[in-house]
Amino acid sequence: MSAILKPKSKLIVCDGNEAAAWAVSLADVDMVAVYPITPQSSLVEYLAKFIADGRLGAEIVDVEGEHSVLSVLQGACLAGARTYTASCGPGLAFMFEPYLRTPGLRLPLVMTIVTRDTLTPQSVWGGHQDAMSVREVGWVQMYCESVQEVLDTTIMAYRIAEHRDVMLPVNICHDGNYLSFGAARCELPDQGEVRDFLGAKDVNWHVALDPQRPMAVDPLTGGAGGPGPSTFVRYRKGQCSGMQNSLEVISEVHEDWGRRFGRYHAPLIESYRMEGADYAMITIGSMTGAAKDAVDEARARGEKVGLLKVKTYRPFPAQALADALAQVKAAGVVDRSVSFGWNCGPLFQDVIAAMYYAPRRIPAMSFIGGLAGADLTISHFERVIGRIKELARDGHAAETVWLNEKD
């Protein structure tokens, strides 16, 4: 991160929820639909205040539930609006029906998931289970590590979503509690420069509800024996192509952001001290800060450990990950959620699937921690590093390790 403030930038101290609201203001959004839920609520309160103060020219629609949140935004987007919302946990579950439909409509909605563990057991605390549960739906998902990254990524999300080779909705995931309420230094870029960076809004060139260019949106397709299934397949393949195209677009956009604003965030996977690493720890989200500290301490002791942070989780940067792991003898993945049925973390599953592309088999283990708001500290990551080191030595992967089980 640059220590020197850009001339037109402003420096504030804020939490991740406020940072996201600032990003929405800077991105010149037209329509915001909201429904409050912990730990997202302060984010939409900031938005309401920014709009009330005239700082953000968007219209805010206080709807009666998350299902309508996405529905209002889909309608607005089809009429040409740049849109935003945020939700999490049970709210995300309730909006699942329109959520499921958004990528197929190729609508470039941008939505923050202030991640929260899912019910039940009852919990209002952070965890990635909500966002991970919707990972296969077709939204681009990017996970942030810091308050600044929340702000920068939220703005970048619009350029990624609205890129003509992508045209897909984007989730920016930031950790409930740790990023939502953790305050930090944050640079606010200049509105004009953000406008130049994002370019003109162009959200419904491909699908619109507009009497000036009438079309039927989303007619029935399918049905054996006719042209239906092949039409359906073309739509599905197109959606997959948009997803894959986004890998390159995400990289380009991050690069351009760095050039313009001086902050270069790793777009897909961040390699941290991987030079000559014998083994690697793989993290996602805000836990990465403590994990990097643990890596620093281990390196100071002479351990050859490195870290890979997954920023873009959907589409999964499989090749980049396989390349980054090519030289290591073992890998451990720390998840903040669970994949039921596999008894491991979902990121772990993706990592081992990606490692199929590696030239040789790399032993790997799954670690699960930070559920329901539990803190993942340097000492937890020291345990992880110690266990991966063993794995690198003997190649015997143990069952999933639950980091906070006996805290």
Binding site: S71, A208, P211
Partner: protein
């Protein structure tokens, strides 16, 4: 298109034989009180009266029999015009007319007939008993006949589908500057959004989810309003998606006063998916999920009164309508379209389903009419200013059996079930009358203050 077919309707039981109508006609046409000059003749018949007047027939026999082309059907007004300069006084027309509508006038020695007084008949104005009524059923035809049907021919509805009728009439009236939401159900089922990239709808149309029609439309409308364009947002939705799974988004949008016209086409169940029960299915009705067997005899609960629930949201406009009363329906469409420019307008249109309710496909309008005439369906409208009022009150309702017996879905009903339906209808009528009375009391109170 464009020919009007208006006429003067005679309610014989209301006529007291005062002959004011004949005086008015004689005055209007000859400036005398001589009833012989009147084009309208009230004729004693038994204990009552009959009417002799030109019906302005759609297929006038007098025009056919006239050898001099002195009689013609006016394509613009629909009146059968008599041209005195061409008439050869042969009187064949008086023989051809079965209604005594054209007659010989011994004073002028010419035939005389009603010319509808340029659309404002003097006889109707003079009638104080309500026996005469100027019926302009063709007003809709005149006003809407030339409007473009915004659905292409060939929608794949069931034969005799009433919902298709509603779709076509509504969109004709609404016009092209619109975005139309048609959630899953019969309406997209018959092709409103189309299949595999082809559509028969000429305006922007989409499938919302079954659950989010009102909220998706709210987003569309708000964005156009924001960008300074007046685009009407219209829903054509079934009762299931409206009353059941879509009710939350409907209620939210109504509470927020989202600007749209939400038309609920109520065919009392999920007819498109195979006739399952909805919250709008009436008590006793057979559906595929409230079947009739040894232990079960149709639905065991009354229908949800959805339009009344919308009144409770204090919408800008709420009305019930029926395709058997098209003038009423068109009037309500007009008011709803207007209301939808500034608030939430809700129109609940009853739509008998030939397939799901089990009746012959040529009886749709008859069924719809019977529903109103038995007070099974009440026609009313509401706005916050004027409250709730009947638009077609039925004082002497026909027995409910006349409605129930034409529908296969009620064929199994026993006496207790019919009694339940009668009680429910009475309660419903009393409830709505209560609202109408409250309105009267409220305006009286407002008048005093």
């Amino acid at each position: 298109m464009g020919a009007a077919y208006e006429t003067i309707h005679f309610k014989a039981e209301a006529c007291d034989g005062c002959n004011d109508c004949m005086s008015a006609c004689a005055q209007a046409k000859t400036q005398t009180d001589e009833h012989l000059h009147s084009r309208i003749q009230i004729v004693p018949s038994g204990e009552g009266f009959e009417l002799a007047i030109c019906r302005q027939c759609g297929d006038p026999q007098c025009v056919l029999t006239c050898p001099a082309a002195a009689l013609s059907k006016n394509a613009g007004s629909g009146v059968v015009d008599w041209d005195r300069t061409k008439c050869v006084n042969c009187l064949l027309c008086t023989v051809g007319c079965a209604y005594g509508g054209i007659a010989y006038d011994s004073v002028s020695s010419r035939v005389i007939k009603c010319d509808m007084c340029d659309g404002a008949p003097a006889c109707v104005k003079a009638c104080t008993t309500g026996a005469l009524k100027h019926v302009t059923t063709a007003r809709i035809y005149n006003e809407a006949g030339n409007l473009e049907d915004l659905f292409a021919p060939g929608l794949s509805g069931c034969q005799g589908c009433n919902t298709e009728l509603i779709m076509r009439h509504a969109l004709r009236r609404i016009g092209p500057d619109v975005v139309v939401a048609t959630p899953p159900g019969c309406i997209p089922g018959m092709g409103s959004v189309g299949y595999n990239g082809l559509t028969g709808t000429k305006v922007p149309v989409f499938h919302p989810l079954l659950t989010n029609t009102a909220s998706m439309l709210a987003g569309v409308r708000r964005q156009y309003k924001r960008s300074g364009r007046d685009v009407l947002a219209v829903a054509l939705a079934g009762d299931g998606g409206t009353a059941d799974v879509g009710f939350q988004s409907l209620s939210g949008a109504a509470e927020r006063g989202e600007e749209m016209l939400y038309i609920c086409v109520d065919n009392e169940g999920y007819m498109n998916t195979g006739m399952q029960r909805s919250g709008c299915t009436p008590y006793g009705a057979w559906t595929s999920t409230t079947p009739v067997g040894e232990r079960a005899h149709g639905k065991t609960q009354d229908a949800k009164n959805l339009p009344l629930l919308m009144v409770m949201h204090n919408c800008a406009y709420v009305a019930t309508a029926s395709t058997a009363f098209m003038e009423d329906l068109y009037d309500k469409l007009d008011r709803a379209i207007q209301a939808a420019k500034t608030g939430f307008a809700y129109l609940h249109i009853y739509s008998p389903c030939t397939t799901g309710w089990r009746f012959a496909s040529d009886q749709n309008i008859e069924v719809a009419r019977k529903a109103v005439e038995t007070n099974f369906v009440l026609l009313w409208e509401f706005n916050p200013e004027d409250g709730l009022q009947f638009t077609h009150p039925v004082e002497n309702a026909r027995p409910i059996d006349e409605y129930l017996e034409v529908l296969g879905k009620y064929r199994h009903l026993d006496r207790d079930q019919v009694a339940h339906i009668e009680r429910s209808l009475a309660h419903n009528l009393a409830r709505i009358r209560g609202f109408v009375a409250a309105r009267g009391a409220a305006s009286a109170a407002a008048g005093r203050s």
